[in-house]
Symmetry: C2
Subunit: 164 residues, 2 copies
């Protein structure tokens, strides 16, 4: 994960919405409903006071959005944050973009005084790579709730604690 | 839990907001921020299409609101519901009002095709009674995430599955 990644990650603006939605759809892991949720949270981020509690980051390569992340504080907690999504363009996988975005999210969460970052993902076999990604990045599996998303589709909760 | 309870539980309207907020504040377990969240969700329930996904129920005795519950579907799941709150007037505790509200929530969730109801609460000693209440009502502890709400204040997740 080189320093060059850091320089390419910035807060996206209204002009990036179409690229973010297009990228989400092309990953193949966002349902239609989830793409609509990305749009809803992005609009909260753009227009609501305090970004509505949703912070987006975009990774750019040659001017194009190649990945994005969305995170925010969990309501009614002191210093606990949720990572809502990290998505990378399917044509730009395996270049460390996801890891660079996650590192930036963690840095921002810590800068905001966050104590921990939570990640919810699926226990389905097609999410094996996603779960291994978080495990490699130092996340611990703290809960598994069977059949949560749908029959046979478990919720898996990961967490990383930060030192202060 | 007598049938008379069932008859006294109805969907609240705009005129009940003040009583619901007053009751929330008087329980002593809602922080100011949580009372504000109750108001926010109640307004979504009143004004948004599909109640914004938040369903409220009020328990009335002699015309007064003595308790309320709020629940709704968990986004991006098939048939999983969250119980956001059950609150009972501190002067009307130990009369089975909480149990009656919970039974009605469960009946409504099942009528809407729900497969399970999730409850999140705190592991703090002052929530012992709350946790015992859910355990008595047939809820299983499916996860404990230490220090989630604050240092020393764990998240405890309960669940009840429904048969179809």
């Amino acid at each position: 994960m080189g320093g060059r990644h850091v320089a390419e990650i910035t807060a996206p603006g209204a002009a990036d919405l179409a690229a973010i939605l297009d990228l989400s759809a092309r990953t193949g892991v966002f349902s239609k409903e989830e793409v609509a949720t990305v749009q809803e949270l992005f609009e909260a981020y753009l227009h609501q006071p305090g970004h509505g509690g949703y912070f987006f980051l975009a990774y750019r390569g040659k001017g194009q959005v190649l990945g994005f992340a969305c995170y925010g504080p969990v309501a009614l907690t002191q210093g606990t944050y949720d990572l809502y999504w990290i998505a990378v363009d399917p044509e730009a996988q395996a270049r460390g973009i996801g890891g660079a975005l996650l590192a930036r999210v963690e840095a921002e969460v810590q800068a905001r005084g966050g104590r921990m970052l939570m990640v919810e993902t699926s226990g389905r076999p097609d999410y094996d790579r996603t779960r291994r990604f978080y495990e490699r990045q130092g996340y611990s599996r703290v809960a598994t709730i069977d059949d949560f998303y749908a029959p046979g589709d478990d919720l898996v909760i990961y967490r990383k604690r930060f030192e202060h």
